[in-house]
């Protein structure tokens, strides 16, 4: 135990940014948008006026004279006609006028139109910017209102083993990986006992639960157990606490041996001849994480079919097509998905996405996991992708 003081800080977003302020800011931005809209409509009116005049200037010289009502002041008219239809007096600006022909006037109007269009474009771009700003403020306000928290932990570059101990969870200091494994294993034993107590009434259910475990699935019950037993969370510390600091691949390699052991201790599912090879493989790098999965799945599916036959029998058929499609679409993604689930199971962080997963995972057992193990990815897939795939 390093010092027992959590390194990170957890602040509700509402304490950093008050909901009201964010909403006010959004309101102000909306007002600014409205102003711009007014301006834009003003300019648009100019543009349509300009276009109409452009057409008029084109058609006026077609005839020598046009009968019109000549305005005399604002409130009176004389009947009259337009003469010299190819002569226009155009305002150049600042009180200067120029005598122009129809064609020249059309050119001037065209240039004016271009200027107006560019003005409108810039206004629209500005409005888009403001709208983005407004939506940002609004989302911030709603997030703050929803009680989102900001978790911040300073990154201190240290030895990996020390990092684990300072991960912010009260957890005994583990120096070596072996010790970590042993620790995790004992924790798993405790966890298993608790689970057995809770599930003793229903053996079948219990088994299914355990198979979920072995299939690296997380469900509500597991989460409950973890919550009930803080120490179990503590034992998971190395993987959960480092969540922000270790890459997904690193994590999965670390959690996998634990998992395997857990599985073995739990339901004694894994055949004896499989375990040595798994252990041997798990001693080395990246690929191993996916290899370990295969025996797990195999054993699970075997036992699962034997014990709670009907349920698991039909599940594979349901998910088969989906599985194949997934496999066809992104062969490289599949192992990553599995790994994402490991992560979830042992960080004990995100629960809600895992409902209804176990049966699917069990069904994915033999053939798919073989494929996935042969296509072990060499680079971690983005978290977003993993979540998407995991769902």
């Amino acid at each position: 135990m390093a010092d027992g003081v959590p390194k990170g800080t957890v602040k509700p977003l509402a304490s950093l940014i008050s909901v009201e302020e964010a909403q006010n800011a959004a309101k102000r931005v909306h007002e600014a948008i409205e102003e711009r809209e007014k301006e834009a409509s003003y300019i648009e009116r100019f543009i349509t006026e300009n276009n109409n005049l452009f057409k008029l200037v084109h058609t006026l010289p077609d005839q020598l004279s046009h009968p019109i009502m000549v305005p005399f002041g604002k409130a009176a008219f004389f009947p009259g006609r337009l003469i010299h239809t190819n002569e226009f007096l155009v305002l150049l600006g600042d009180g200067y006028y120029a005598d122009q022909t129809s064609r020249q006037t059309a050119e001037i109007l065209h240039r004016r139109g271009n200027v107006l269009e560019s003005k409108l474009e810039s206004l629209k771009a500005m409005m888009l910017d403001l709208q983005a700003e407004a939506s940002f403020f609004e989302s911030t306000a709603s997030e703050a209102a929803d009680g989102l928290v900001e978790i911040r932990e300073d990154y201190i570059e240290e030895q990996p083993t020390e990092q684990k101990s300072e991960s912010g969870l009260s957890k005994p200091n583990i120096i070596s990986d072996d010790e970590e494994c042993a620790q995790a294993m004992s924790r798993m034993d405790v966890l298993e006992k608790l689970e057995e107590e809770a599930c003793s009434d229903d053996e079948d259910n219990d088994f299914e639960c355990s198979s979920m475990f072995s299939a690296l699935k997380l469900n509500d019950r597991v989460q409950k157990f973890m919550d009930e037993n803080r120490f179990s969370a503590a034992s998971l510390g190395p993987s959960s606490g480092n969540c922000t600091q270790t890459s997904p691949s690193e994590k999965s390699t670390r959690t996998n041996p634990d998992l395997y052991k857990f599985d073995g201790a739990k339901a004694h599912l894994v055949a004896e001849d499989e375990s040595p090879c798994v252990k041997a493989i798990s001693a080395s790098g990246m690929v191993k994480s996916n290899v370990t999965e295969r025996p797990l799945f195999l054993s699970t599916s075997k036992e699962g079919r034997a014990d709670c036959g009907s349920k698991i029998e039909e599940v594979p058929t349901i998910h088969h097509s989906k599985k194949e499609k997934d496999f066809g679409d992104n062969v490289g993604d599949r192992p990553a998905v599995n790994r994402a689930d490991h992560q979830k199971a042992f960080t004990g962080s995100i629960v809600e996405h895992s409902h209804g997963m176990p049966s699917k995972q069990t069904s994915e057992s033999s053939d798919l996991s073989q494929v996935s193990s042969s296509n072990a990815p060499t680079k971690p897939v983005s978290r977003f992708k993993m979540q998407k795939g995991g769902r």
């Binding site: 005049l53 004389f78 009259g80 337009l82 003469i83 239809t85 226009f88 006028y97």
Partner: protein
Amino acid sequence: MDSFREEKVKKFEEFVDLRLKPDLLHAIAQRDKVFEQQKVFSDLKRNIENLEKNGVTCLRTSVNLGSEVYMQADVPDTRHIFVDVGLGFHVEFTWTEALEFISVKEARLARQVEEYTHLVARIKAQIKLVCEGIRELLQIPAE
């Protein structure tokens, strides 16, 4: 008691800001519109008088086509003039008829201006009254 007074003051201030001042602005804007009309008709009157004095029967002028683009226009006969009598109607008058109409119209506009001036004064008085009420509530001595 204090909170009650504060409430009252707030209510009065809201009344001034949200009711009386917009009303005042509206009345002033209306009056300005009438002033504009007055100016238009007085201009027209002067112009017609000029035409009469100079005996102009044909006229060449420039017409604004929009966006400050002008074109020459020819009026062959100026003795008949179409004057806006309101609601979008234009009546063909001779010069004398037009001048008669304009004098009637001007009188009416002057009356309207007077009405609006009264209205503005009344609203201003109300604002003053409410402000005095607020002052009394806050027990600030009068200047």
